[in-house]
Subunit: 500 residues, 2 copies
Amino acid sequence: MGSAIDSLRENLGAISDLDRARGLMAWDERTQMPPGGAEPRADGLATLARIHHERLTADELGSQLDAAAAEIDGMPYESMEASLVRVTRREWEKARRVPADLRADITRTTSVAERAWVTAREESDFKAFLPHLQRVLKLSRQYVECFAPYDHVYDPLLDDFEPGMTTATLVPLLAELRDGLGPILERVAQAPQLDDSPLRGSFDVPAQRALALALVEGLPLNEGEWRLDDTVHPFASAIAPSDIRITTRYDEDYLGTSLYSVLHEAGHGMYENGMPAELRRTPLQGGASLGFHESQSRLWENWVGRGRPYLRWALPMLQEHFGASLDGVDAEALYRAANRVEPSLIRVEADELTYNLHIALRFELEVEIFEDRLDLADLPEAWNERMERYLGVKVPDDAHGVLQDVHWGAGAFGYFPTYSLGNVIAGQLWAAAVEALPDLEEGFERGELQPLNTWLRESLYRYGSCFEPLELIERVVGGPLDVGPLVAHLDAKFGELYGR
Amino acid sequence: MGSAIDSLRENLGAISDLDRARGLMAWDERTQMPPGGAEPRADGLATLARIHHERLTADELGSQLDAAAAEIDGMPYESMEASLVRVTRREWEKARRVPADLRADITRTTSVAERAWVTAREESDFKAFLPHLQRVLKLSRQYVECFAPYDHVYDPLLDDFEPGMTTATLVPLLAELRDGLGPILERVAQAPQLDDSPLRGSFDVPAQRALALALVEGLPLNEGEWRLDDTVHPFASAIAPSDIRITTRYDEDYLGTSLYSVLHEAGHGMYENGMPAELRRTPLQGGASLGFHESQSRLWENWVGRGRPYLRWALPMLQEHFGASLDGVDAEALYRAANRVEPSLIRVEADELTYNLHIALRFELEVEIFEDRLDLADLPEAWNERMERYLGVKVPDDAHGVLQDVHWGAGAFGYFPTYSLGNVIAGQLWAAAVEALPDLEEGFERGELQPLNTWLRESLYRYGSCFEPLELIERVVGGPLDVGPLVAHLDAKFGELYGR
């Protein structure tokens, strides 16, 4: 009765359930919970995280892995069973390397630092934040040492978000991207600016909500397997592959905020919604990495949602909900409004082109910090200098500069580069999809988005997280990571929009 | 470092968190979840229930209880610490008496029986349901035997919902109630019927939703500690004492459905919302029993919500939302509409007076079944005979008779009497509250509901579930369970409304 692999799957099912329960609690906290629930929710999340961690690091799981490995000996690397043992063992070994005390210390310290960051940003006071950042960095370095020996001190940080990714791969890749964007941005800066007034004005929130719902209904998410809610910082969450929670926020003065956050988050949602049934309730269920996840949000937001064909299809829906503001706007005007480039101070408001320069800056600073080439006290100066060099903008204060993101206070070093990696991968996937389906974009004009989803399911989603990102990109597009398609896409698009 | 009682509390905090996480998952399932989430949600709920049960029955908890008991030796029975050890040990011992195999068997069998019940009710086919009911009963009897020796075979079932309650107490009590209601109902049946047309008509659901929200805002729930949602079968859930989720449903033809389900569920919610801080994240947090919980829902629904003073205050709000339908209706007409008595077939639609006769019937049949005086095959006949005797109505088919409730298929024998117990306790509490606060009802006319809530917090809520129901009623009203106040309330109310 019951093979070793079945026992393993049963235990992993319970571990997955604990993780999904936490996911629901976090979604609820950010979309539904009355304010009074905050403190008990923090207790509840901590308890579930602890129980989840206990089970993930238990000796029992190690024995189950050994037994399952013996049982499936000889099965191909690609098989679900071999992948399950391989990926789970990797997670189990990683989780066991970090002492419980260090984990608790990191949780406490980042929690304090995040609160300190809120105040420091409000007051644009980097000095007040510096000691917190120093404590977080010290613990991050201790965390890194748990994974010694390593090739590069930044590798273990990257590995948490991009399994198997190395600094040696990423540094030249993102430098090449940065250098490729420079000339495009220079030409844009010298050209007459595009008019984004079609997306600006006064947009009633209930009507925006109805529009957002209609847009998601038009996307190839399975019927009855998603919902859409309001939140402050949009996110998507898969409570299960068949239970996708998309969230967005509405800006009364700018329609682009909800329009593109909905497409972005729905992109994440479609990835999870496309997981094959056999991976459900296992660690193989879910996106392969943050970078691959971001490739899906960006693909749907930028390549689809900011493309001419989709906007031609969407325009009548926009007009249906906002007749008065959008009467007389044609698809070309909408396309230009959705693609205006404007170097700016704040990453989360950046356009498709300059976004990657915000990331290049952060990634380079992180690597320099961990390589001991940059002292935290000198961070604002380095930030401001690079903002001017890459984006041509002057940073007026730290609130609009080095203090704008929560990531470092939260200890999430190694996270930023996954945003650009997502864009790089999206570029490669788009090129492959268009090659496989030459009529793809033509269908978008009629709202036919299913063929792209089907191609993604068959080419990418089917693998879940069976493979590491560097293996996976080879399997999907037949070559290594390559910034070429992304740079070519941006060059063609903005060359045409702004002239050369 | 760390006393035994602190270690116990920490473990109980985690156990409580697991329980509350399940509560959130269940609330989400019934109010928010897209249909696709059903199957993974069932997995998740089962996993959390299993982990919760493992921890509740663990040897570790037993050792912690021993250590804590030794540490607090000599502390008074009433103290939080002594209550914590006493109540937890009781739960721990009960949970350990039931073999895991039997629990699993009950879960599986009732799950199948509940599905069979849905079909059987649709087709009004008791015979099809009978074999399922027989299997459930057999397992319930096995469950009872886990608690041998007992005074009465029905006692262990009661004990799950009313700790310490006995059949010997309840049988004469509910018979006295039944016999007390007979003459009141007889007089009502001979009097001219009241007009409930003010609550009937066509009521727009969004306007009903706005009204329901306004009504809950007028109740003494702490601000920022609750929310109100739509559902199919209304319920209230405390995700935490400071995070109360009330639900209701809206009937387009009858305003009374949402009006009174909202007050009922908010009554449950106010009980949980009033838990003292020192009981939080312990097994002492929460209502003392189902009967005490129901006393709160009924108190707010019937004594407050169906009383003249509250309805005088509420009428302008109803008119604000439903001007056209309620123009010209005065408070007296609304009061009569809200208190129309009509013997009927379906328990959940029953009025304040006849409701308890539906319960008497079910309770008596349950006791007879467990005493081997009634065979399950003869249940429809016994049901129909008693419906006619107690309520004077003829049951046309089993769908409107013995098949109307899910409880028996779900194995919830011992649950029904807690509904009437709630009414009995509410009657006693109301009498005590009015004695303590003579101006209570006068304030209701101005929407001043806080004094009743304050009295309940100080007299009842402060105890959480430190004491068993039979102890608790003594502490709160200074006497034993007594149907007198409930019967006197109903006699006075309906005597005045329908004449004598």
